[in-house]
Symmetry: C2
Subunit: 345 residues, 2 copies
């Protein structure tokens, strides 16, 4: 047992193998760092497992590993991202999130001060989202066998009665809505990675979308598809939906919102914003008759101000995504092949 | 799109960065490897989130990262271990497991054949336990930024009415039961790591304990504490319980079952079996009057054949774990300090 002030240690120390060994060093790390910042009544039970009361409804469950590099980026860090990413997966099923777990894989030598910054950011994101982190785990790997910190979060939520959202539910004639500009997250990460500087810094759009989804589902429980276009971007997400629903998608290039500075960086680096990852945007596919109502709700929400109808679902046995371009032509928007931006989330 | 038989690729290929990129290579990996082996009706929905009906009862949720090295060991591998580890965390709360998620962090260059072997083993463990893997995630990191594969599993289960098991619930006068021999897992891993060979190979005890726990809880719903002595071994688990319950523990050394070959390796390597990790054993603390009945139930189960009463809970404001030794003396069994066996789970 040590008499050193643990908070002082977090300002100067580094992760060592004892922090994953199951002994007192690990107990101190868990108590003085994880529990202190993530504090809530369920986590405080101190079990390996959390016990919680669930509201009625079907259970929704989703998991995401986060290996983003760099760990800190404009608009967020791996701590906030790991909360947003998993909450969004739950929200895309139409669920109301109830709780999260977090597992950390730490690399020996990682500064404890950085770890604390990440845990504080995770705690803030969870608090803002109103969803507690109820259980966790910490492992340590030798220097050179990891990369600072990886975080896997898993979330559970409940599905309101009457909601049945699925990537396989799109039907010809339905409208394709998008909640805002594309490419912000991927371009923010890449700019940081490449040390690009601009007049105004491009920020990741990392955000928790369950509040926005809640308003949308309350108004139109019959939404067919929700999907957050993360890795692989809008193009890949739409191809997945087309494939799952056995339909085609016809996009209108002029309607897809892209920030001019994001477009500029993409041009500079030879990227297509359609394939660049987002972490705070959603695609919504709904009956054409519900589109205006949903757009109004989306635009009234801080995370949907730039929402737009970007296309429609069409019959196509080849399940193609096609985009009408600015010059009266059209082009096929294929799956992302190969890697565009590794470790983007 | 490739016309190569994907199964053939899995026999010779390796993980590359495109497998985590969100494009077609990732979709093929998920479909032809993960979904093929882990197949179940919920996973087959193809959402980022799984939707499932839950039996009534409070929800129990737990997560565990697995970074064990080596990935394959006598008695299991990281695939089966990651199922057993999380099911056991649920079981130690007295819960009946319902479903699991799995997130994989893969290192570029990791052989796909090894990955498939691990997924097949995970699928078998899940099937034998009767608990499906309902959702997952895959990320890839560059060579040298990971170590083959890390797996985080998260489980949910339900807590039967009347069950309230907690590490803080031990009371003086209660009995301490142990379900079998200690140290098997840690010694199996270490022997493999150090290339030690013996006449008979020492196997990890990695196993899912929820069946055993189910029988115990059905018979005695009022069990106070269940705990699986993993990292840090029996000694650390008992210290955690003593600390949480504000009691002491008096152990009887002669009653603690240890396999002779495990004891031999521990002597050879200067290890104390009390601190060596287990992955298929449990500590049960119950009213002294329930001890015989529970021991009988444990001994009748394949995973509790060597169950024994190893001590009792005593009053102690210092929350010490003390062991009566073979020579009429006694010694303090302290927390594990420092690291004994890194990456044991």
């Amino acid at each position: 047992m040590t008499s050193i002030d643990p908070q002082a240690k977090f300002r100067t120390g580094a992760v060592d193998m004892t922090h994953g060994g199951g002994g007192r060093a690990m107990a101190v790390l868990i108590e003085d760092l994880f529990h202190r910042h993530l504090k809530n009544t369920i986590l405080d039970q101190g079990h390996d497992a959390a016990v919680l009361e669930m509201p009625p409804g079907r259970l929704v469950m989703s998991t995401d590993a986060h290996v983003i590099s760099p760990l800190f980026f404009p608009g967020g860090d791996i701590g906030s991202l790991s909360v947003h990413g998993t909450l969004n997966d739950l929200a895309m099923a139409g669920a109301r999130p109830v709780s999260l777990t977090a597992s950390f894989i730490l690399e020996e030598g990682f500064p404890l001060a950085d770890l604390e910054r990440i845990v504080i950011s995770m705690a803030r994101a969870a608090r803002e989202a109103g969803v507690p982190v109820v259980s966790g785990d910490t492992k340590v790997v030798e220097k050179g066998k990891g990369d600072g910190v990886f975080i896997t979060t898993t979330g559970v939520g409940v599905l309101p009665e009457g909601v049945s959202i699925s990537p396989a539910a799109a039907k010809p004639g339905q409208a394709v809505l998008l909640s805002g500009t594309i490419g912000d997250h991927g371009v923010a990460i890449l700019s940081k990675r490449e040390n690009l500087t601009f007049e105004t810094e491009i920020q990741s759009d990392s955000a928790a979308l369950h509040g926005l989804v809640g308003s949308m589902v309350d108004a139109v429980p019959g939404i067919s598809v929700l999907r957050d276009p993360t890795r692989g971007g809008l193009a890949t997400a739409l191809n997945e939906i087309a494939h799952a629903s056995k339909v085609g998608v016809m996009l209108d290039e002029g309607e897809i919102p892209v920030r001019p500075d994001v477009e500029g960086v993409c041009e500079l680096l030879g990227l297509d914003p359609l394939y660049v990852a987002n972490e705070g945007k959603l695609i919504c596919i709904c009956e054409a008759s519900d589109a205006d109502r949903l757009l109004e709700i989306m635009k009234a929400h801080p995370l949907g101000q730039n929402a737009a109808k970007i296309g429609e679902i069409v019959e196509d046995t080849d399940c193609m995504v096609v985009m009408k371009t600015g010059f009266g032509g059209s082009r096929v928007v294929d799956w992302l092949s190969g890697e565009q931006l590794p470790r983007i989330c």
